[in-house]
């Protein structure tokens, strides 16, 4: 049986977590990198979501607009997740018990699953009914903006 408390304690007291928590400059830099990742990700969600919902560049094939954007969003996600994990490493148990953090992580999980299983194939030009394409765009955009808002709330109100 996995001892969760021991795992959390090990992560929180690790050298890297301790080093980050002890350095305001390092924390600030990671937070800044996290914000850049979020900007890439959420901005991409706006562009590709607006194409899928038929608002933006509708005279171009979906794959021409949303294809590369959806791939770029994964880069933004990787940057955000990596920097985010490092940021909360020293206070992981506190963060996990915070409702705003739980909401953010829940939305992040759902948004990532939707992105990988539905958003990317549809953005790559998979033949689907227009309603499915529209719904994919709207749901994806809503989820990623939700993650960003939840993240803001967690940082500002925790």
């Amino acid at each position: 049986m996995i001892d969760t408390d021991a795992w959390l304690a090990a992560i929180e007291t690790s050298r890297i977590a301790t080093a980050i928590a002890g350095s305001l400059w390092l924390t600030g830099l990671l937070s800044a990198v996290h914000l850049v990742g979020m900007t890439v990700l959420t901005g991409g969600a706006v562009v590709s979501g607006l194409r899928l919902t038929g608002v933006l560049l509708t005279d171009r094939p979906v794959v021409d607009v949303a294809g590369a954007v959806a791939r770029g969003m994964l880069a933004g996600l990787a940057i955000s997740v990596a920097s985010g994990l490092l940021l909360v490493a020293s206070r992981l148990s506190t963060a996990l018990s915070n409702e705003l953090f739980q909401i953010k992580m829940g939305l992040l999980l759902v948004a990532t699953l939707v992105h990988v299983m539905l958003y990317r194939p549809v953005s790559a030009g998979m033949a689907v009914h227009p309603v499915v394409r529209w719904t994919t765009g709207a749901v994806g955009l809503t989820l990623w903006v939700g993650v960003a808002l939840a993240g803001c709330a967690f940082i500002l109100l925790e």
Binding site: G28, A32, R60, C152
Partner: protein
């Protein structure tokens, strides 16, 4: 002189509200970050088109026309909320090196945009549909990406070093 302007800003009603209200500061910061997503988050995809990396099958002019209302709206939100935040903490910002870096990056990004629209874009008919635009166009896109990334990084560092 700038310090006196900063002190005056902090004494204005918006400055006092942002600094002393329990809810004004997080709301304004939240809107500033949403504006960031809409402005730089969308603009960067136009920059990537200029670089010939994204949306290569779409004419540059069309990408610009369709994205511009969104990133322009985002910049309006950013500048208004940024002005409000500055009014609340102007003296601390004045002495902060990351604030000066951020302002310099934003000013240079503006110069880059003016140069692109005033000079580089004049011959757009020659390269509008090219998947990989000419070097000068790509450089404008790269400069925009680097300068706005610098502004975002410096802006976030401000909040960790100002107080």
């Amino acid at each position: 002189m700038f310090l006196q302007i900063a002190e005056w800003l902090e004494a204005t009603a918006p400055g006092v509200l942002v600094r002393e209200s329990l809810w004004a500061f997080p709301i304004v910061v939240g809107l500033h970050i949403i504006g960031l997503t809409l402005s730089i988050g969308v603009l960067m995809w136009f920059d990537l088109r200029l670089l010939g990396i994204a949306m290569r099958g779409c004419p540059v002019s069309r990408v610009y026309r369709r994205l511009m209302p969104f990133f322009a709206s985002g910049f309006v939100v950013m500048f208004v909320t940024g002005g409000l935040l500055l009014s609340g903490f102007a003296t601390a910002a004045y002495g902060n090196v990351y604030f000066r870096v951020k302002m310099a990056a934003i000013a240079l990004a503006g110069v880059n945009a003016l140069a692109y629209h005033g000079f580089t874009e004049r011959r757009i008919a020659d390269w509008d549909s090219a998947p990989r635009p000419p070097r000068a166009v790509r450089m404008a896109g790269l400069a925009s990406l680097l300068l706005w990334t610098t502004a975002v990084l410096a802006g976030r560092m401000m909040s960790y070093t100002m107080f």
